[in-house]
Amino acid sequence: MTKVEAYIRTHLVKQVQDALEELHVSGLTVSDVRGMGHSKAVTHTFRGNQYVTSLNPRAKIEVLVHDEEVEEVVQSIQRAAHTGEVGDGKIVLYKVDDVVRIRTGERGDTALK
């Protein structure tokens, strides 16, 4: 099993979610995050004074997938979250040791069904 973690533009969450639902992933988690990467800092003003925030809002999507589905899921996210501009984000993969479904106590791949 693999955990796919994607940092994407916030307004593309809906598209990515739709793409993943088409692949019948069993579930996903979305968080509002702020972070910095290659996209440039934003200058805000407050009462005439300017200040810079280099931490831009992004969404983090986490999804657990069976190993044989990983490539499909990654490509799907990459397609849906792609604009071609700097700042589109990253997809990170982690090996997962085990998964437990809390309600039933099922373990491993069966917990992801």
């Binding site: 533009r9 307004h11 702020r34 934003v42 200058t43 805000h44 003003t45 407050f46 300017q50 925030t53 931490l55």
Partner: protein, 578 residues
């Protein structure tokens, strides 16, 4: 509303009668002093036609009213002043000092001036309440929009106050009220009595459309009564001006918006307003054509709310929907507001401000204007009926007691009762408010699903549709108990359904709707409604379309998914991480 008190013989008559009674009491309880009977009336006796001098301190405002009864002695005009410090000294030395006839005149003047002072205080305080409604509008609109544009919506509400007030000062007030006539409740000053534009016209009848005086509040109108009227009418105008900021929220380019503030306060709003309240053509439908009391709109269902609502509808049509509002097949998506509690608080602030809006439109509290008690009660009843109706209807329709629509229904009830609030009883208020909520909900759905216009906060449903219903409801429900003399009609003569009842020959005739027998009133108000819709929608549509050709109406950030208006237009976001 405004008109009757500038030329409403009934209320003036009541006041004169009260003064005469007071005079009689004083005369009958005062020993004669053996003074000569008056040889002739005081030279300074004010006549209705004589133009008054502006009164920047108010020291003389209201004094003339008491002397409009026949004078009892030959007191010189110099005697027609309020009690001076010398008088008080004289009485404190000798409490039994005989009261002279000059004292009586001073007593009458004091009574008259106090009544006018009460009216001015009442009008100012209710004006302050209406000003506070700006906060209500800002909160309802911002609560119903997305967090990414919250600063922008607030900024529109703030700056429409700025640009609107400047425009109102430059020319809006003068065009709308520059020719309104005598300021009845503010001491009857004849400062704004120059004729309207197009006077007389249309078959020899005065069909004025625009006032011609009081631009920039020039020194010729440096008068307490005029300034009171300016403040009260300014906050009304600003209510109309702020309604389109809701309908066009989340996409309006700020420079375009700034120009709009001047256009609505100088052109769009005063044109219709002058015809209704400024002594223009619609208000004279009764005098000239025998249609009820002329078009009657007590506090502005049409003048303010319908104008604002239809300008907003035209603006929302021209500016186009928010990105993502409509799918390719034209079906609408919900774009939920980000702060529903804020919208609720805003709704309550609006309802509170409405106690200034409707009762304040009497422009006074003395004499026959104690009707304000009824007006306040019907106002609250209509809002309650609107909220309950909207809430239950949505439950029946969608399965949930919809909070957003409950707010809209609550406000729609208030909007609809605004025009008839002076003339209907409690039962009619409940009916009017309930129907308004249904009309509002229907109109919101119609705009979104049939017209495919994106109105984020339902401004058209609440203000445009319910406002038109309100002005029509006057012609249906008004019960004739109030408003004799409104627009110069019904105090001494009246035309009831085409039958002229003759001069000085009828009981006082208040504003009466068709349910109580006067179809002329309904016709007059229908004419007003048609002109209101045509002018407000038409002029705004033309204006926004032309302005769009010259510089952008729509902010480019509205079409960029990465951008929001807060950052793009101001660089200041509403909710900062820190």
């Amino acid at each position: 509303m405004k008109r009757p008190f500038f030329n409403g013989p009934k209320r003036l008559g009541v006041f004169v009668a009260a003064c005469a009674t007071l005079l009689a009491i004083f005369v009958s309880t005062t020993p004669a002093h053996g003074q000569n009977p008056p040889a002739q009336p005081p030279a300074a006796s004010p006549s209705a036609a004589a133009p008054s001098k502006p009164d920047p301190t108010g020291a003389n405002t209201g004094l003339g009213l008491s002397t409009s009864t026949p004078p009892v002695d030959n007191a010189s005009p110099a005697g027609l002043n309020a009690w001076s410090a010398d008088d008080v000294k004289r009485w404190s030395k000798d409490p039994k000092a005989p009261v002279t006839n000059a004292d009586l005149l001073k007593a009458l003047d004091a009574a008259g001036q106090n009544a006018v002072a009460l009216n001015i205080v009442w009008t100012l305080i209710t004006g302050y309440l209406v000003m506070f409604m700006q906060a209500g509008f800002a909160m309802v609109e911002t609560g119903f929009c997305r967090r990414r544009n919250a600063t922008h919506v607030m900024m529109l509400n703030m700056l429409v106050y700025g640009t609107g007030l400047i425009g109102w000062w430059i020319a809006g007030f003068g065009l709308m009220f520059g020719s309104v006539g005598q300021l009845g409740t503010f001491g009857n000053a004849s400062i704004l009595t120059q004729p309207n534009l197009l006077h007389p016209a249309i078959g020899g009848h005065d069909f004025g459309i625009w006032g011609t005086h009081a631009f920039f509040l020039r020194p010729s109108v440096y008068d307490v009564g005029v300034y009171t009227l300016f403040l009260f009418q300014m906050v009304f105008m600003d209510t109309a001006a702020t309604i389109p900021t809701g309908a066009m929220a989340e996409r309006w380019s700020f420079p375009s918006f700034l120009l709009y503030g001047l256009v609505i306060s100088i052109v769009i709003y005063p044109f219709y307003g002058s015809m209704m309240w400024g002594g223009g053509g619609l208000s004279t439908l009764g005098v000239n054509f025998g249609l009820g009391h002329g078009a009657v709109d007590w506090a502005g269902s049409s003048v303010i709310h319908a104008v604002g609502g239809f300008v907003g509808l035209a603006g929302a049509k021209v500016i186009g929907p928010r990105r993502g509002k409509f799918n390719k097949d034209g079906s609408p998506n919900a774009i939920p507001g980000h702060n529903i509690p804020m919208a609720f608080i805003g709704a309550f602030i609006l309802a509170f401000g409405w106690f200034g809006f409707n009762p304040g439109s009497s422009l006074g509290a003395s004499g026959g204007n104690m009707r304000i008690a009824m007006i306040a009660v019907v106002t609250m009843l209509a809002s309650a009926a609107g909220a309950v109706t909207a809430c239950l209807y949505m439950k029946w329709k969608t399965g949930k007691f919809d909070p957003g629509m409950s707010i809209n229904g609550f406000l729609a009830g208030l909007v609809a009762i605004t025009a008839p609030s002076g003339f209907v009883d409690a039962t009619c208020a409940v009916i009017i408010g309930a129907i308004a909520a249904l009309i509002c909900i229907w109109a919101c759905g119609f705009v979104e699903r049939k017209l495919k216009i994106d109105d984020p906060v339902g401004a058209f449903g609440v203000h445009g549709a319910a406002g038109i219903w309100g002005v029509i409801s006057v012609g249906i429900f008004a019960d004739g108990s109030f408003g004799a003399g409104y627009n110069g009609t019904g105090a001494t003569e009246y035309v009831l359904n085409g039958v002229h009842t003759g001069a000085n020959n009828v009981p006082l005739m208040g504003v009466t709707g068709c349910l109580h027998g006067d179809w002329g009133q309904l016709i007059a108000n229908l004419i007003a409604a048609v002109i209101c819709i045509t002018w407000a929608f038409g002029s705004a549509y033309v204006y926004f379309s032309l302005q769009k050709k010259i510089f952008p109406l729509r902010s480019p950030a509205a079409d960029d998914p990465e951008e929001d208006l807060d950052q793009a237009e101001f660089g200041t976001i509403a909710y900062v991480h820190n």
